[in-house]
Amino acid sequence: MIEFHLDSRSGVAPYLQLIQQVRQALRLGLLREGDQLPTVKDVSGSLAINPNTVLKAYRELEYEGLAAAKPGVGTFVTKTLSDESIAAHQQLAEDLMIWYRKARAAGLDSESIDAIFQRTTRSALQEEAV
């Protein structure tokens, strides 16, 4: 079972934050096929949020084929994001670690490293779009 949390300053709608946290847990292997998601009542109660927000997130996960509701029991994970999981891309993580050490050795602080990473991601996205 996972526990949700909400960042009220992120500007991301609460139902989207719930969806992102389920996907993230799947990628990290914290959730696997067959696992139960917290009940709507538990999520509403612990986060003090509208039950319809939780229902909306769970419906979206069902639509994506990641979860299924069993009436009267709860919502269960139906798919493992194994190909997207971080463990499957260990080599990429190691490459990034080498790059990160180089950046630190060059005297960059984490804000500058973030800026380079984001700028590179954006120009890559731009290239893909062309």
Binding site: P14, K41, D42, A48, I49, N50, N52
Partner: protein, 301 residues
């Protein structure tokens, strides 16, 4: 789906002053509706009319399809927590539960006891000796244990400290999910309602300024910033809520269901608090440019 509260041209006049005028709204079932507005806007008057504590001067209101307080059966379907969550100071927690069991035909004694245990309230303690947060929780417990279809709360959290406020909203949301309640709650603390409400009614100066589904309201309001221009040049599909100008720049908050395509504008979204404050502060500005209700409805389609 039927409306939990349906008002048509509802108004209430005290001597010379209209506390609520020409109020037409329909709150759908299964929602948590937030009734917001400054103090004295008419929130409590609307709630008193909906609970049958007041009779309207003009118009009609039905609650769950019936006239408020018209029969014991209608009363049993509505739970009501009045302003500042009142309890009987000289009665113990246990007395309150016994009182609730006697007065309410659908009383759920097991639920009431479970809640009191969960809240770690001492059943022998007099309500007058409880903290503000505990008193609010006791009042909420009584309202929920009568197992209503609709729960109406008037400013339940305004006088609570942040922790008690959060605990109150946690229990309220948990119960809403568990018992599939419809909820209507008034508040002037918009930030607290942001996660809780999915339907919004903004009352200003005794009138409904805006109402609707929170997600669609947020999606249809845009903050436009760009070079200075005249309000009259905005397209008809954009309903102006607020405006401000410097000698070079104009900022408009508009309501539009169509996308904003004008490249001169930089467009930003708004959060619930921005939206509510805009309607409160834009109340006087808007009356000059206000479209007739029918025209606004056509635009929104």
């Amino acid at each position: 789906m039927t409306a939990v509260i349906d008002a048509r041209g509802l108004g209430k006049k005290y001597r010379r002053r209209w506390a609520l005028s020409d109020c037409t709204l329909s709150i759908p079932a299964g929602r948590v509706a937030g009734l917001v507005g400054p103090n004295g806007a008419g929130k409590t008057t609307l709630i008193s009319l909906a609970t049958g504590m007041l009779a309207p001067t003009t118009g009609t209101v039905t609650v769950l399809g019936e006239q408020p307080a018209s029969s014991p059966a209608q009363l049993a379907k509505v739970g009501y927590v009045a302003q500042d969550t009142p309890t009987y100071a000289s009665l113990s927690v246990e007395d309150h539960l016994r009182f609730g069991a006697h007065l309410n035909p659908g009383w759920d004694a097991r639920l009431a006891r479970k809640r009191v245990e969960q809240l770690a309230l001492d059943p022998t303690k007099k309500a007058g000796k409880l903290s503000g947060g505990q008193r609010a929780q006791l009042a909420l417990t009584l309202a929920i244990a009568k197992r209503p279809e609709l729960l109406i709360l008037d400013e339940p959290i305004a006088s609570l400290d942040p922790l008690a406020r959060r605990e109150f909203l946690q229990i309220l949301m948990e119960s809403t999910a568990e018992h599939e309640l419809s909820v209507v709650m008034s508040s002037h603390l918009v930030a607290d309602l942001e996660r809780v409400c999915d339907y919004l009614i903004v009352l200003v100066d005794s009138r409904v300024r805006v109402d609707g589904d929170v997600d669609s309201l947020l999606a249809s309001h845009h903050l436009l910033t760009g070079p200075r221009r005249d309000t009259a040049t905005l397209p008809a599909s954009q309903q102006l809520i607020t405006e401000s100008h410097t000698d070079r720049q104009s900022t408009f908050l508009v309501r539009s269901t169509e996308p904003i395509l004008d490249p001169a504008w930089s467009v930003a979204g708004v959060d619930l608090e921005d939206l509510v404050l805009a309607y409160m502060s834009g109340a006087s500005a808007r009356s000059q440019v206000r479209q007739p209700a029918s025209a606004a409805a056509q635009v929104n389609r």
